[in-house]
Symmetry: C2
Subunit: 563 residues, 2 copies
């Protein structure tokens, strides 16, 4: 050990999160040894409430572009959107190989195939048993973990400066659906290998105890299947293959056919079946339009929409807007997921609507129909106790989750000063002398909106906010040689109900007309369009605030009749 230490004395390694700290989403962590860098995961996140109209958010990869020639590859831990979702948007600019397990790469391929102009990257399949030599100095190993999607791995990065362990998302499921438990032996060995730093999932650090085994959900589902007399509809995350497998198992056991609805679920189950991660007997799988030939107790439907997403199959079912299927008295609906913070109201509205249609609804507030894929406090302790890292960087969590992870690590003996709180863009350097924060690099959010990548910024979002709250009032005047021609036009959208506000809008018009009469007497003002526009904005804002208590966007437009 002493020898090893001295050997590593001046070697340094840097950890640079470009996404995934202080947030759950857009995971992307850079590991840098000397000039060489590698990237762990490339995820997207869902927009915050104030990002009106935005579809998704990816990390700013300026740092990777600047260091492109030293980038050795991207390593994916699993196939969730917050770990692979940014790939289609960054892959054209980063010509590097991508490593991942079979299912993960299967999902990446499916995703990339939806983007026409995205190049096909070099995809390198690994198993948890593989070793990958990334360069003379960097070797990768992997360990199998349990999570809410199969084929997850944690990553061990071996460098001359020391070992970095990236847990990615994990829990310890002692009875996983596919019987493949965590690679305890590897974790235990790591504990004897003097691991320098660990990046650890913080998601459930606030939750005491254990997350619970996925198989417990299977039992709860089976109880519901045993009792239900009508159709059974189960909603879950498209990527939760183990959950789908358990639904299938119960369906087969009680001799119910299985129909799948929802595009993402359809695609994912197709991939999972092709790659051998999901077993649905062919003769049990039916199309939605075949359901009408079956009796209610012969039917299981698996669907998307567990988050109450407005366009999802379950939401359409709940609103009686689904083309093939109508929920009715006697149906049993299982929402086998818990709402992601921010989605509660949409989820509850869907549940309420299903109850109104007469269905019996089981959901997360009734025990048993869902467990989390992220380890709780005791599992985090177990991971820390096995791997025994010298330094810890809490990742994959909002700030409070990271704080709670630090509290937990203190309980198992990692001193406070060895836990490093990063922000996206932080550079934390570790050597045998310790860890320290260096100057930050560029990092941040790139907003996706429609086809636009990064073209929506603060100005656009601010405008959308004002427009969303109080609407817009447009004032158009036509000037002919500095004389107003005709009458000003006032048009509003999202401000007041126009038919009932004629009086108000007439008053506004009169104020504008009076204002222009006054301007005419003042030769100087007349010349400056901006002064006129500000005058209009001012007078209109004041009037509308007084009369309605609202602050619409005021947009004066001056047109010329003489050019």
């Amino acid at each position: 050990m002493a020898y090893k230490k001295s050997k590593n004395k001046n070697k340094r390694i840097q950890i640079i999160p470009l996404g995934g700290v202080g947030e759950i989403g857009k995971n992307m962590f850079v590991i840098k040894y000397e000039d060489e860098i590698l990237v762990l995961d490339a995820g997207l996140s869902f927009p915050e409430d104030e990002m009106l109209g935005v579809d998704a958010v990816i990390p700013n990869i300026s740092y990777l572009l600047e260091n492109k020639k030293n980038l050795k590859g991207i390593i994916l831990s699993h196939g969730h959107e917050d770990h692979i979702g940014a790939l289609p948007y960054i892959i054209n600019d980063l010509n590097v190989p991508i490593w991942g397990t079979k299912l993960t790469l299967g999902m990446v391929k499916a995703k990339l195939s939806e983007f026409n102009q995205v190049r096909k990257p070099e995809l390198k399949e690994i198993t948890p048993r593989d070793k990958v030599t990334l360069s003379d100095n960097i070797q990768l190993e992997f360990f199998r973990t349990n999570h809410s999607i199969p084929d997850c791995v944690g990553v061990i990065i071996k460098t001359p400066a020391g070992i970095v362990v990236y847990t990615s998302d994990y829990k310890f499921d002692q009875t996983p659906v596919n019987s493949l438990v965590t690679d305890y032996d590897k974790l235990a060995k790591l504990g004897k290998s003097n691991v320098m730093v660990m990046l650890s999932d913080s998601t459930n650090a606030v939750t005491p105890g254990y997350a619970g085994s996925e198989k417990e959900v299977g039992k709860a589902l089976d109880d519901i299947f045993r009792m239900a007399e009508g159709r059974i509809i189960v909603a879950t995350f498209a990527s939760n293959i183990h959950r789908v497998q358990q639904v299938v198992n119960s369906a087969v056991k009680y001799n119910r056919k299985i129909a799948i609805t929802g595009r993402s679920l359809f695609n994912t189950t197709k991939i999972a079946r092709e790659l051998g991660y999901l077993d649905i007997p062919d003769d049990f799988l039916v199309d939605l339009d075949q359901l009408e030939n079956l009796l209610p107790h012969e039917i299981t439907v698996i669907t998307t929409g567990s988050q109450g997403e407005p366009m999802s199959a379950l939401t359409r079912l709940a609103k009686s807007e689904h083309r093939n299927l109508k929920i009715a008295n006697g149906d049993t609906v299982i929402v086998s997921a818990s709402p992601i913070p921010g989605n509660e109201k949409m989820v509850f509205r869907t549940i309420d609507n299903l109850f109104k249609l007469g269905a019996e609804v089981y959901y997360h507030q009734m025990s048993g129909v869902h467990v989390s894929g992220h380890g709780a406090e005791e599992e985090i302790k177990m991971m820390l106790n096995m791997v025994q890292p010298r330094y810890l960087i809490p990742v994959h969590g909002e700030y409070r989750h990271m704080v709670h992870l630090a509290k937990i690590s203190e309980k198992v003996g990692i001193p406070k000063e060895n836990v490093f709180f990063a922000e996206n863009g932080s550079v934390i350097e570790f050597s045998s002398k310790g860890g320290k924060k260096l100057k930050k690099v560029t990092a941040g959010k790139v907003l996706l909106d429609g086809l636009g990548v990064g073209d929506v910024g603060n100005i656009v979002l601010k405008d959308r906010k004002v427009l969303s709250e109080d609407g817009i009032v447009i004032v158009v005047i036509v000037l002919d040689d500095k004389k107003v021609v005709g009458s000003p036009e006032i048009i509003t959208r999202g401000f007041v109900y126009v038919r009932e506000s004629e009086e108000l809008l007439d008053e506004a018009k009169n104020i504008i007309i009076k204002y222009f009469k006054k301007i005419k007497q003042d030769k100087k003002k007349e010349k400056d369009e901006n002064v006129i526009k500000n005058g209009i904005r001012d007078k209109m804002s004041r009037l509308f605030w007084e009369k309605t208590g609202r602050n619409p966007m005021i947009l004066p437009i001056i047109m010329k009749a003489n050019n």
Copy 2:
């Protein structure tokens, strides 16, 4: 009993919820016996996500206006916004007395005083021991309940047709802070009085067990006070006087001065102190700007903002934007509330920000710092077992809560067919022959936005939604005798970042110019402005969808240069 029954044979009573069923908010229940009607509560609700820019929602009271001459009064159960908040907006149109307990009326007075043009209604103070003779046929009695605000009552409405019981919000707190337990004797007596129908709080019907006593929170708070070395900041609901009292008790015990910040909390504590519901020793109360003269361990601050409300004191503290106070290392912040569904993200963001500033933060996910004011499953059973109503109308709940209440009532022996699910506007009539639903009356939502009451409807909200997601593109052209004068003007807001979209907007302009050239050759089309507008809308929508994947609102404006 047989005599009583025959006497009531042809008498009927109607229950008409105008708000508060299928929702938590804007509670308003009409009880009608023959021609006479009375109103239980008059609350507001907070806007749904899709009600962009809306401040609050009150019930549509058309039914009350139509039956104004038969309206005997409004009875308030307690001082929460969802039970009294609509009063300022309806009281001018309904000239009837209002009954409530001392604190409830105190809060009503304070609320009404904020509205200049609202008439002062006749306020009649009651205690839980009072009987009120509303008319020859209607007598009211009350029973004290426990909830998250003091001075709550349930209402017993005695009519020749039978007895109606309105629980309003309740839990059974065996150790309430003010020692005033529920009026068990009255509830037990009701159980022997052949209660016809009960309107029961459904809020926590999904929660197993008991809500827990408010005093347990006091103990948890006291533990935190005992350990804390720096300043303590506690955020809670302004109306939760008992919670405030317990914070005060701990502050006094550990010899800390108390400062209060947040307008609503300031006002409520003032009223509660004046009326004798809150005991803060004068020499412990300090102004915020006196805090700088005190040591950290001598300071307690009680604040609003437990829901992460953007403008609240706690949110400003968390963003370091509070005028008098800066959160720093060593401070302890207790968020003594749990997030109302929909507020989770805002609450968590505030907590994260407080952690970032170095504070130790206690919040709802750590046990002990909050209990609900609504009874859980076992308390609901207790209420049902004591009152033994023949019929039950679940109220004060979203649909799933009402369903769960029905399930609970079945467990304690109320048959399914005796539970009536109402919607706002439903008329449910009860007599000795049973209950039945009659034709619905007008009910619904009146949206408050700024000074506007009901002037924002679906058209305005739809426009705000489109504007919020993709912004607006305004196309202005000036016509001089059917000839386009000058160049069309294209202005966007909330759509794209204009400086980086010059090319796109130039393309749009060229399309418009080309379109007008084409129109000129077609004499017929030229005449119809609407055809031109639709043409512009069409061409612009197609272009922008193709190039950006977005659907902004397209607003063509045609100005005349010659009138």
